[in-house]
């Protein structure tokens, strides 16, 4: 067989193997995917929501590899506490593990604001240890949106380590006191195992308090990472302010919690938080991570109709609540070396008046394929968003191959 004939036969075989339009089942969900098992109704949000159907696509550089972002890890060398006026008048002990700490005092609603001259900080020897103090006006001028009467102080680079005393004789009411030790070797690392979850779902939290040598050691490439035997607790906080205590349990690799998300997630937009408060050997640290919680107001039906010639993917939906839904995904095409690489990003959104069946079309044909790229294709990072309620409902790392 000549090479030309071989190519012709191969093309013919490929055409038979890839019908112009074919129904497929979406790829099985992976452990990191989020797939709604059902749909449910929900009230419409108050804000104005676009009603026009819209599609948009743009080309991606196939040489720029994509990867799913790892869950965020918060690293904290700080903590906060609420204190009453009597404590601040008497003096609040602050155990500091490194020089040059920053102390921020914020009055709660109704408490007396504190000016820069009304804070006293004494080192373990009882000597005044204030390198610089700024007030709320100066912090706001710097872009920090603090409440009226907030003050921030720095102890200074030459200050000793040990128990300091913060005093404000004019205090009246309750205050939040934050302590940041930017040079401390003691750091809390906090991580949730995912950044999105469905209402009623679960999320795993890990908190590790460790001596990492501090920023100076890290910058010099001498991290030590010695785990400290810590205890603590966490708090699940909804965007509307509701909160639930979460016990942290000591494990082989730090403190852990399996957190159940309530079914009633409320109407407030914004993210949920898991805040952890950990202590070891008299040192406190806290940190927080944020994640999105979605009600399953719609879902992909599990089928897709693909058209390799047009580079289009039609995605049937099950709608549980009227609203505006958006599908978005990345098209991977086969490159000259036979490897799949990202070539285009497409979004499609429409308004759905009622519960029932719906459909969105991802049209990658709106942008040209880069030279040398063709089928077979893969649709990756397929997501379904409830645009009106700002909720990521479904995500699939790999959706269809065609």
């Amino acid at each position: 067989m000549t090479s030309n004939k071989t190519i012709a036969v191969a093309i013919a075989a490929a055409l038979f193997a890839l019908p112009l339009q074919a129904a497929q089942t979406l790829q099985p969900a992976r452990s990191t995917d989020q797939v709604a098992p059902r749909v449910e109704g929900a009230p419409l949000p108050d804000s104005t929501i676009e009603r026009a159907p819209l599609s948009f696509a743009w080309a991606l550089d196939p040489d720029q590899a994509l990867s799913a972002p790892a869950p965020f890890t918060a690293v904290s060398r700080s903590y906060w506490d609420t204190v009453d006026a009597a404590t601040l008048q008497r003096g609040l002990d602050l155990p500091l593990t490194a020089p040059d700490a920053v102390i921020q005092v914020s009055p709660s609603q109704g408490a007396r604001g504190l000016g820069a001259g009304q804070l006293q900080v004494r080192d373990p020897a009882g000597v005044l240890a204030l390198d610089k103090v700024v007030d709320a006006q100066q912090l706001r001028a710097a872009g920090m949106t603090v409440g009226e009467g907030t003050a921030m102080a720095r102890t200074g680079a030459s200050a000793a380590v040990g128990t300091y005393r913060l005093q404000a004789p004019q205090a009246q009411g309750r205050y939040v006191v934050q302590v940041l030790e930017p040079n401390s070797p003691i750091a809390l690392q906090l991580q949730a195992d995912r950044q999105q979850v469905l209402a009623g779902g679960r999320i795993a939290l890990t908190a590790r308090l460790q001596n990492d040598g501090g920023p100076a050691a890290l910058a010099a490439g001498r991290p030590v990472a010695r785990a400290l035997p810590a205890a603590g607790e966490a708090l699940l906080v909804a965007p509307d302010g509701r909160s639930w205590p979460v016990p942290l349990v000591a494990g082989k690799d730090g403190l852990r919690a399996q957190v159940s998300i309530p079914e009633d997630v409320g109407q407030a937009q914004g993210l949920w938080e898991l805040q952890a408060f950990v202590t070891a050997q008299g040192v406190q640290r806290d940190a927080k991570v944020a994640f999105a919680v979605a009600r399953p107001t719609a879902r992909f039906s599990g089928q897709a109709e693909v058209d390799a010639a047009q580079r289009q993917v039609r995605l049937p939906l099950q709608i549980g609540a009227p609203g505006r839904y958006e599908a978005r995904g990345t098209l991977y095409a086969t490159g000259p070396g036979g490897a799949l690489r990202p070539v285009a990003q497409a979004h499609s959104a429409a308004w759905f008046d009622a519960a029932g069946a719906g459909e969105l079309l991802l049209a990658f044909d709106m942008v040209a394929l880069p030279g040398g790229y063709s089928a077979p294709f893969e649709l990756r990072d397929l997501q379904l968003q409830d645009q009106g309620r700002m909720a990521p409902i479904e995500s699939r790392a790999v959706a269809v191959r065609f």
Partner: protein, 293 residues
Amino acid sequence: MRSNAVGKGAGLALGMMLACASAHAADVLGVAFVHGTGKQTDARTDYWQPGIIDSVRQGLPNSANYTVINCDFQQYMWTPEAAGCLAGQLTTFINTRGITRLVVITHSNGGNVMRWILSNPTQDSRYPKIIQTISKVTALAPSSAGTPLADAALNGNVFEASVGWLLGYGNDAVRMQQVGWMATYNAQNLYGTAGRPALPKPFRVMVGTDVESAVWDSNSYCGGYAQSVGLELTQNWLGSCSDGFLDCSSQSAAGSVLFNDKARTAGAEPLNHNQSRRECFGLGAILRNDLTL
């Protein structure tokens, strides 16, 4: 076609858009200034100051083809008051001035609101035309990965039945710019960060790398000495490279770095977070010369 991003929508025919986008010879260049966190009614005076606006717009073929955005960026970036307002004012500017190539200059959180529009083209029927008209976004010190100072402003702000939020509610834009929150939005809703798909249009960043606030140093006074003093202390919450409000790593988290301040400023001076929106150390000329590149 200058753009490789294409949209379709009700009353917006693909063919017509392709035809519009290919009109090179008749390009009308415009520039829009997008402020950061806050509710602005006169951002030209109160946020930017006229010096930098007037310096930059002299680089336009028609220096009247500029607009200064005034929106409520105390809200979440996706809200009608934030991205919706920005889309409305950009659309009006594009339509009334016949702009075909738009350079958007953002500062701080303005970069996030702009990136919201670029990353969510199907949320609003005005977005596709805006995206297709934009030739590039120049983001001055954008808070793309948030700032620990937003966390510090909100830490301890628990909700109690008797008093509500202990420290008052603050605003949603600050809430949104907490480091963990931006990590989630970057992973789910926004493009242009590491490992994520690129934005449909270039998003190029100027990074502010340091704060100088010595009372004897006249450079500390550009943009306001009082602001510089506060930034010197807030810098303690940040890493070794910061503009006093944002870590360099946050500023450069999305898009590509156009330049670090000292690489192009007069006297290799750093631009703190307030100076990067003011006519300090030749910034206006740098931006003016970049308009037509």
